[in-house]
């Protein structure tokens, strides 16, 4: 791989997330990295991945990455556009989504996420945007992929607010709560990949990205992190993956560049 195309942490997260998407499945997409990953997967191994954005566009096939969930191109290229109540009731709650992406300001060892507030909800130190559709994705998607940067401020012992549930307090808590989806099956960070233990459902580090040390991951995790044995190394980013991602970003930047005044 040439130096000009060296993979950043964001690149690796995006590409590893894209790899996790199977062709001909339904993927619920948010703006930012999830959208990049899903659209990258469409250009690589999953041309028939069905993209559903919470704005109601089913089967959107954008040529460049949307800047917002409601970009016109999503509606124009979709198989159909339905209302928000319909997306949430008939598609998400109904359990039709194969894969949902989530992120958050904080995550705990059971994959629960906070995107609401740091500090007390009533008098927060930092007020975050809030739930959006994340709790529905967390509860109802058949599986959830969490994508977030690894840091001790984000990977915390205890959440200030549980916006979106992972495995609650672990073991069979999620099943007992009547949640149909499998929960977060992997957490992809800029350092590695975490997956839930089959019994306890505690997140376990299962892979390190190339060049990342175990110590770096431990330092960036706010709880005593369990490590899989053997611990895998993520397959390196291929030139094809890196080129496809750069090309997608290049076209996106071009399309969204401010127009000259008319």
């Amino acid at each position: 791989m040439s130096d000009a195309h060296a993979a950043t942490g964001e690149d690796v997260m995006t590409i590893v997330a894209a790899r996790a998407l199977r062709d001909r499945t339904l993927c619920f997409v948010g703006i930012g990295l999830p959208s990049a990953a899903a659209n990258l997967a469409r250009r690589l191994h999953a041309p028939d991945l069905v993209l559903i954005y919470e704005s109601g566009t089913i089967g959107a096939k954008p040529d460049v990455l949307p800047l917002s969930i409601g970009d016109g191109e999503l509606a124009e290229t979709a198989d159909t556009v339905v209302s928000i109540p319909e997306i949430f009731a008939y598609w998400l709650q109904a359990g039709r989504i194969d894969t949902g992406f989530l992120s958050g300001a904080q995550i705990d060892r059971f994959g629960n996420l906070n995107s609401t507030a740091i500090g007390d909800w009533r008098t927060p130190r930092v007020r975050l945007p809030g739930a959006g559709g994340a709790p529905e994705i967390a509860a109802h998607a058949r599986e959830v992929i969490v994508v977030m940067r690894h840091s001790a401020r984000a990977f915390v012992e205890k959440l200030d607010f549980v916006t979106s549930v992972g495995f609650l307090d672990g073991r069979d808590a999620r099943g007992r709560a009547g949640l149909s989806g499998a929960g977060p099956t992997r957490v992809i960070t800029d350092l590695g990949v975490l997956e839930p233990d089959a019994d306890t459902h505690e997140l376990v580090l299962t892979a390190l990205h190339p060049g990342v040390t175990l110590e770096a991951v431990r330092d960036a995790t706010g709880w005593p992190l369990r490590i899989a044995d053997p611990l895998a190394t993520t397959a390196p980013v291929t030139e094809r993956e890196q080129t496809a991602l750069h090309e997608l970003r290049r076209r996106t930047a071009l399309a969204h560049a401010p127009k000259a005044p008319s």
Partner: protein, 280 residues
């Protein structure tokens, strides 16, 4: 029947201080001109509803027009925080802001229940703490399975304001592209104000278009470009640069107030606003 009238009159007639108002739009078709007009007319103590409060709600919160916000996601889409919203919640500036917080699922269901004039909607629990902090959401036992579900009290705004591409002279309203929760929000309200790109003689049916019958539309106000910086598919483009610029404008209290004075209070209508920001 529907009145076709200037936005200024519609706001003056239908939205008093203290009103419960939903100004809906999901990234597309956000009724920003109506928000500006509320600021110009000095409206206060409003309860505002919206799934995705963004820049226009940030402005209303920043000028102190809002007492209570009922919402599910408050951010500057694709950019980051809403600084006026954060300042109100974190520091009570310029006044404290009461939050009634939903998830998108409960918020959408509450509008649908309001549209159907039933006291609540039923849906599956997501076990989010969001529901636990909202008194309008309560557990409900299924009388068939014994499962615990959520009951969400219906949204019943005094007024819903939306922006649509077109209306005819009778007051039928047509919108297309991403139409979000606007139909439910309109049907849930006692009165419905619609700003439109244009009033036409006949509404040619279009694929994917939603039609709101005149019977439920209180007033139609022609406001071309009334969604800026959002957009109206077929009429305008999203002003992405403005969303990015808003981050710096809104971060500082004084700069925000100066901006509002110059571009909103210092102009008479959307045309004036668009002219004023074009020359910054």
């Amino acid at each position: 029947m529907t009145a076709v009238l200037p936005l200024r009159e519609a706001i003056a007639q239908h939205i008093p201080d203290g009103a419960v108002v939903a100004m809906e739009g999901f990234t597309h078709l956000i009724p920003c001109a109506a928000g500006h007009e509320l600021i110009r007319q000095g409206r206060t103590d409003l309860t505002l509803l919206r799934m995705t409060p963004d820049i226009i709600y940030d402005q209303l919160i920043g000028v102190g027009a809002v007492r209570r916000l009922i919402f599910s996601w408050g951010g500057n889409p694709g950019v980051g925080s809403l600084h006026r919203f954060r300042d109100a919640v974190e520091n009570g500036w310029p006044r404290s802001l009461e939050l009634v917080e939903h998830t998108h699922g409960t918020m959408a269901a509450a509008y649908a229940a309001g549209a159907a004039r039933q006291p609540f909607a039923t849906l599956r629990s997501t076990h989010s703490d969001t529901a636990a902090h909202n008194p309008a959401i309560r557990p409900l036992t299924c009388p068939f399975t014994g499962d615990t579900l959520l009951a969400v009290a219906a949204h019943r705004p005094d007024v819903t304001v939306i922006h649509a591409q077109r209306a005819d002279r009778a007051g039928n309203v047509q919108l297309w592209g991403i139409t979000g929760v606007q139909k439910e929000a309109a049907l849930a309200a006692d009165r419905v104000l619609v700003t439109v790109e244009e009033v036409v003689g006949r509404l040619e049916p279009l694929p994917g278009a939603v039609l709101l019958p005149a019977a439920i539309v209180t007033a139609v106000c022609p406001v071309p470009g009334g969604t800026h910086p959002s957009y109206a598919q077929g009429y305008s483009q999203r002003d992405n640069a403005f969303y990015i610029a808003w981050d710096a404008i809104s971060r500082d209290r004084d700069r925000f107030l100066a901006w509002i004075d110059r571009h909103v209070r210092g102009t008479n209508d959307m045309a004036g606003f668009l002219e004023s920001i074009a020359h910054v």
